[in-house]
Amino acid sequence: MSGAEASLAISVFLASAVEAVEAFTIILAVGSTRGWSSAYSGVAAASLVLACVVAILGPALTVLPIDVLRLLVGTLLLIFGLQWLRKAILRAGGVKAMHDEAAIYEREVAAAASSVGEEGLDSYAFAIAFKAVLLEGLEVAFIVVTLGANQDNVPLAAAAGALAVLFVLMVGLAARAPLSRVPENAMKFAVGVLLTSFGIFWGAEGAGVTWPGEEAALALLVGMVLLASWLMVYEVRSAQSELREVRG
């Protein structure tokens, strides 16, 4: 496996694992409160939709000329990666609350318990499970399709995504509890750094740039984005603690 393929697999695995943990919390809350059959039906239906998205968009993107693909995908990945990184920096800096799976689980259980139950297919449980998997999964599908198509290796990206989901499911079902110990912010931070670096590399390449050192430049970009992001976390933390001191 080349360095680029390893980066692709790691990026997709981490992004998929984070989103799978978030979807799992909601499914666990709905399933344990309202019954598992309707929740599983929602999961299966959403998974089918996501599989279709990847199966249709993946090959469709690879038909585009490589420069157009890199320009388009690089720009989108850069926007997407910066969103992830911005939130992760603000969370690590103490501005935004950390993602709390236990709190989300309690909230979802309360909401599910307050809604009236139904005989047969429970439309509430189905809809909540479907929505959770579809919304969390769309981000993963986007990352799988764009990263995979750009390296002409959608199967590797899809396999890394599927492996992550399977891993989270196995751990989650064994624990039968929200996976609140998963370091979600650190994982989102890492994914943000990787997506942003891929976005810079491919976006510029698609715009006609030749990178000094060619593919080795990608590793330098990852290091540069990581270092700059850490510095921004430090800067935000310092500013926050100064503000707290001023406000007493």
């Binding site: 850069l78 926007i79 603000l90 609350a97 976006g203 510029a204 698609g206 000094p212 970009l221």
Partner: protein
């Protein structure tokens, strides 16, 4: 229905801070223009990206408020 779908697409593609998307597009366009002139343009995207990120983080961290748990 269409409005909700459009809002969903916007939130998915652009996110919380539309300025990030705007400046990323400007950066890539400027990179393409410089490269088309035959000048070295590889430095622009990394420098501009870090400036965009820092600007967005600074704007996001201005009010000292710990927001509630998010679903994203």
């Amino acid at each position: 229905m269409i409005e909700r779908a459009a809002r969903g697409v916007w939130e998915f593609a652009v996110g919380d801070d539309w300025r990030v998307a705007f400046w990323v597009v400007v950066t890539i366009a400027a990179t393409a223009a410089i490269a088309a002139l035959g000048w070295p343009a590889w430095w622009l995207a990394p420098v501009a990206t870090l400036a965009i990120l820092r600007d967005s983080v600074r704007r996001g961290s201005r009010p000292i408020s710990v927001e509630g748990t998010e679903s994203d």
